[in-house]
Symmetry: D2
């Protein structure tokens, strides 16, 4: 399915500043970027780079000229999801994991799994099977965490979200990741453009690695699971922040838009967790 | 300089267990591993692998047989340090950094730099130059943090060490790393074998990236800076733990030994911070 | 000086609820309550009571009837402040303190002094004299903590305010209290009506006990120090919350007003810290 | 039943110091102190005082002479416990509580109930009746928290104990108190001498207020519930610490002994939770 995505980030610069952005759709075997452009409202130094364990596509901007600065991105990406029958998804012991996956068992800044072992076992220790545990975590997040913009702080980790029982997509993902890792399930943070997300914004979800594939989990359930276009993945938001600021620069606004690509002829059929469950499937994101 | 290192890790296994170890000396342009062996007290599944941003050399063991299990490592490594005159070390703006270094600016599990900006600025914001800031941080750690085995917990981050003003090498390194990153200085955690460390144990230090090179910093000052043999590096101890345990296994003991290599003819001349300062130099570890 | 104060608290009740309020002006040797009334928008069970170490004047309301509920208070209080020359204020060792004051040295929920000893000593350990330390803490709060409504959470303690460097009056007071206690200066939390506070709201400040008297400290410096009418005092906001809710009840709004009493003939001459300093005085609240 | 208790606290003084101790058995309607003595190994300034909401019996010592200092206490106390049939213990709404009890609903330093509402409801929200909730909390503590001397830190609150699932009597009590308060059950911290506690030490338990009386709860279950001699009670350990130190003084040791009083003719019949449950009773401490 082809999607057309647009995002704009707006800043006020008041001195020498560096801005590190993760806006571009990643290129994967199941996600093709057909065309894209990244531009700025005025000339800045710019450098495209790959960063981190997953070679996410970052762009760094540098300017010392005061005044407003905007970054504009748009792309057409073709993405395909894969549904896998539950019966084909088997648990995997740690020693059989692909080494590339093992760092996703380690605790990280916003997903301190080492501090959540007891809590993870209280809630999910009695469930058999890694995928079933991850799906139970998604259910639990959806039921017990209030989706409430403004209720959380950027420095909150999964601990605070567990305590406060509220947050935004980032917080849902961090808590889910920490709980999964505490149960020895590799889990990673994913930022996406999300079709039919209302209101439009960047979205964060997570993936768990079971039986050789990464499955998509989203405790917020605020967007169809098959309408997401992957931007970046990492251990948590520290690896995949949309923007990281250095120097004298402050954000003033953001706009995101996700549409069906203009050459797309297929009609989008939203797949939510209930649809997948009814069909006995889990979903892998492109 | 050639060193001979030995380490043994002892465990009690009581059910299916996986043990992920980082014991081997890494291979770098300035650290050659001349020979090494890694063995176990009894047969286990074993897999050697590279993990993480820096391709550290991990070994994974798996066993389901109850009883004691020991891991034995020994190696001869040839390592050379480099001293660089202060005058040749220049600050580097974020936008000129090698992309491989940028993740070491991000907050991590045990070095939550995003929570320490105010504190870092209180203490070190008035100092000019990244290297001078890092050296001032080393001084401050040495003066204000008590080296006190047993005073800290494995889940402590830099925040707790800053609050409690005590810890072990791991805690000194995490606090130093968090403070450096809060000042936009890339910093990474390094585990080493340390010659003349008393009593012998694994040691943890950190490195800061300034002007194109990584410089060694050690707030504990309990071992010469030029007698360290690098095992692994990463964002913090989550990336470079000596051992990570999964399943029914518990540690029962550890032994470490670091000697001059038996073919070494040179006499080891310890270099401490005071020696380096007197000579107007900073030091890069092999 | 006579002041006329008014406050209204508005709630939505959706089931059996208890509301514990601290709205009334306390009666002290230097604060007389000339007249007052406390009423509700509809009939509820009501009980007036004294609570806590300082016998604050609380009112408890109970209702099980759903719908809006408002509490209205108004009072005329006559309050006098006392200015004391610095030269007459002497340090006091712990063993000479009035026992009633000693609990104000203990750590409390929002002022965990036991966790802030190192930080308090870093910043203020070099200053001689308890009053000078307290005034330096007020200066530091005023300079380093941003007064920013919405920046803090109700569950934040002094630790989070120290980390985040922003907050509201409650946060300024908690951080100041924790720092003082960490230096062995008794400190207590005080809620007040504050004349010339813009916009009008309840205000929180703190007091330090030096040389036999409690001196007023307010790191926010958003209202004159001599225009405050005392409502309650305690170890921290847990003891002196304006309202504590039990059951199915949620706040919907608040209004506060502080005026000069209508029989008052004296013109209010605001005293701020700078005025007091120039005159060489500290101030005791009525 | 008469008990004879002894305790000694040993310190090394290295400069002007104040020591605030809570060692004496309190006097209550059901606990009589028949005789007692408190002495020191050398002359110091000494002041006996009542502190806090419950008028605990503290003694303050002051000395500026360096060297060892020991405090010795011994007393004979006669204490009687009361057993109350479950059927007679009724829930009590907040608005019917004795005002003296209300502060034990507020969050405190080591029992931050405001941060544990979600967790308390997860585990115990489905249980009817305050006493049944408190007994379920005792069961849960006993089953899920490991009694492990050295596993906790003095600055740990109930949050850390919930996370770490280990601690000492103080930690069990703080977690129990926080959970009870989060469920609107008044709960207070109690320090005691405990007969048949092995090894002998000071002990900490908690009490919950239900239907007009305080009932004893002890998640550690390491001593009979009817062999405790009350020393002090308060919101948490901040109110009832055995010793609080100011100045240049460090603890070097402690000894405690609890025996049957020498004129006692009755044989002690230990009552544990299981005995009480079998008899359908809860227990009030003297």
């Amino acid at each position: 399915m082809q999607f057309f995505v647009q995002s704009s980030l707006h800043y006020q610069v008041s001195g020498p500043s560096t801005l590190l952005c993760s806006l571009k759709c990643v290129k994967t075997p199941s996600q093709e970027v057909l065309n894209e452009s990244l531009s700025t409202s005025r000339d800045t130094y710019r450098s495209d780079m790959s960063l981190g364990l997953e070679e996410n596509r970052f762009t760094l901007f540098e300017t010392s000229e005061a005044g407003p600065l905007s970054i504009f991105y748009e792309a057409t990406a073709s993405t395909s999801v894969q549904t896998v029958p539950f019966a084909e998804i088997n648990n995997q012991d740690v020693h059989t994991l692909d080494p590339a996956v093992i760092p996703y068992l380690f605790p990280s800044r916003y997903a301190p799994a080492d501090r959540m072992r007891a809590v993870a076992n209280d809630h999910f220790g009695g469930i058999q099977g890694h995928l079933d545990q991850a799906l139970a975590i998604e259910d639990w997040l959806n039921k017990h965490i209030a989706y409430a913009p403004g209720s959380s702080k950027e420095q909150y980790s999964a601990m605070e979200t567990y305590e406060n029982r509220s947050g935004v997509c980032r917080d849902f993902a961090h808590l889910g990741i920490a709980l999964c890792r505490a149960l020895s399930i590799p889990a990673r943070y994913v930022t996406v453009y999300a079709f039919q997300l209302q209101p439009q914004d960047f979205h964060a979800v997570f993936e768990v690695y079971v039986g050789g594939r990464w499955y998509l989990i989203d405790g917020t359930r605020i967007a169809p699971l098959n309408g997401m276009i992957r931007i970046a993945q990492g251990r948590d938001a520290a690896d995949a922040a949309v923007a990281t600021l250095f120097g004298n620069i402050a954000g003033t606004g953001i706009e995101v838009n996700t549409l069906v690509g203009k050459d797309e002829t297929e009609v989008f059929q939203p797949l939510n967790r209930a649809d997948l469950r009814n069909a006995g499937n889990a979903l892998c994101l492109g």
